[in-house]
């Protein structure tokens, strides 16, 4: 697998350097693996995201204006260690507490739980909201086993907005938890990405098959099926979301995200979006806003996911707040 890199073992640090360059004075690398905005106001309730590299633009590319205040970035597909998370916690802490917001993966939970304890021991007020939006990864009564996938984008966006309007960590946790609980996603996989260090594929899948509900690293979904049309696939994915425990009824307002996992084109995302819109219209569900593109990726993996976030009167103004980051910018 040809890639435009220098050394397969240093991609994570090099891309983080490039990311800081991208922010062009708005954000800095304050310690190894830690990128934070330069102008976090005193007493701001801080939002910290974190995760392994290789899924760009998340998570470190979500640092931005009205977005995350900072991110702790690990090696490719590996959570950063607790001390890096602790460094990040210290860097974003402006005296009013820090909320951790990240995807529910074993390595991340382990390392960040340790960091949380260490930060608390230092007197920093830390709370965690775990993201688990993937309906295909476990039944509704086992949400703690669910993976965090592309639904993290609307959740972090809402949390970023909230973090700029609340005055307590508790309030940020409440709003973010609501955003999380109002978000459902399902993904499909067509072909694996490759691991930068080895060049090997992240998983195996037949040329004519599609993995319904598969995770972004190739984790098990709800079944492998023969390739099907975009419309049939979209209907199937929407059924999985509607079959979950969050209702989407006539009159509800949602944000829709159609996310490419890497090499799936915007052309395909738009064709899927067309069907999503039709299905939501038939239900009477109103689309408040739409995002599409490469937001949560796994290298050049082929596949996409659909996420729905239900807005209420409290979340809608948060959604409408402009924001800016490498991953997502809203005017």
């Amino acid at each position: 697998m040809k890639k435009i890199i220098n050394d397969p073992h240093t991609v994570a640090t090099e891309l983080l350097d490039g990311l800081v360059d991208y922010y062009n004075g708005d954000a800095s690398l304050v310690s190894p693996g830690v990128i934070t905005m330069n102008d976090i106001p005193d007493n701001k309730v801080a939002l910290l995201v974190a995760g392994g590299a290789g899924h760009e633009p998340i998570y470190h590319g979500l640092v931005g204006k009205n977005f995350a205040d900072g991110a702790a970035c690990g090696d490719i597909f590996a959570a950063p260690p607790p001390n890096i998370m602790l460094d990040a916690t210290r860097a974003v802490n402006k005296g009013n507490g820090v909320m951790y917001l990240y995807g529910n993966y074993a390595g991340d939970v382990m390392n960040f739980n340790i960091a949380e304890q260490l930060a608390r021991a230092e007197g920093i007020n830390v709370e965690t909201v775990l993201i688990y939006d993937d309906v295909a990864s476990a039944p509704p009564d086992e949400k703690e086993k669910r993976r965090g996938i592309a639904g993290l984008i609307p959740i972090v966006k809402l949390a970023g907005a909230a973090s700029n309007s609340v005055d307590s960590l508790e309030e940020l946790v409440r709003l973010t938890t609501k955003a999380r609980d109002n978000t459902r996603s399902v993904g499909v996989a067509l072909a694996p990405g490759s691991i930068p260090a080895s060049g090997l594929p992240t998983f195996e899948l037949d040329e004519d098959s599609i993995g319904i509900g598969m995770g972004i690293h190739g984790e098990q979904g709800v079944g492998v099926e023969p390739m099907m049309s975009a419309d049939d696939l979209t209907a199937k994915m929407m059924d999985l979301i509607f079959g979950d425990d969050l209702s989407f009824e006539s009159g509800d307002e949602v944000v829709v995200l159609v996310n490419s996992l890497g090499s799936t084109t915007l052309m395909e995302c738009l064709i899927v979006l067309k069907k999503v819109k039709q299905i939501l219209s038939e239900r009477g569900v109103k689309i408040h806003d739409i995002i599409t593109g490469n937001l949560v990726t796994c290298q050049e993996m082929a596949g996409l996911s659909i996420s729905l976030t239900k807005l209420d009167d409290e979340l809608k103004p948060l959604w409408d707040m402009p924001c800016s980051s490498l991953g997502y910018t809203k005017l």
Binding site: P80, N83, I84, G107, N111, I195, S198
Partner: protein, 207 residues
Amino acid sequence: MLSADAVKNMLIAVADTVIANEDILGEADRQLGDGDHGIGMTKGFTAAKAQLEALEPTSVSQVFTTTGMALMSTMGGASGAVFGMMFQSGGMAIASAEGLDAATLSTFLEASAQGVMNIGKAKPGDKTMVDALVPAQAAAANVKDGTIAEALAAAAEGARVGMEKSKDMIAQHGRARTLGEKCIGHPDAGAVSVSIIFKRMSEFAAA
């Protein structure tokens, strides 16, 4: 009984051995995982070795927790937390120990296995390093009254047998989980690491 200095030298020897086995560990992970276990352990034990060499240890506990913190703070990922905790939890449980004897080792290993299972939620049989660590602990518990060399030999043999048995298991965690039956025949990479670690400790104590 091994002094704090001896334990320090023992863990430096362990670090050298783990680093020397980078390719073997990478290959083991390549069969079932993403092939980076050798890289990760080398990173962790390189840091651990550097910190140990700079350390003038005041207790065996400190030697183990220094190792644990070094692994945990440099490796990242699930394995960084798990291997870090293996030394960290064990080390904290023997804070008052004057040196490392068979009884202390047993206390260490019990806390170590418990710490790993607490943080990682893996049970024996899930095809993780727990399947080498728990048998090591059980074997060492049987020779609490022996010498430290005997206890470490038992732990090493327990770890080896556990690692071998992991070949027959179906993974419940991490990437290998999606392989199902296909992972039968290959040992868990982390279990290979645990086996290598105790083998080297045993050799050190016997020398």
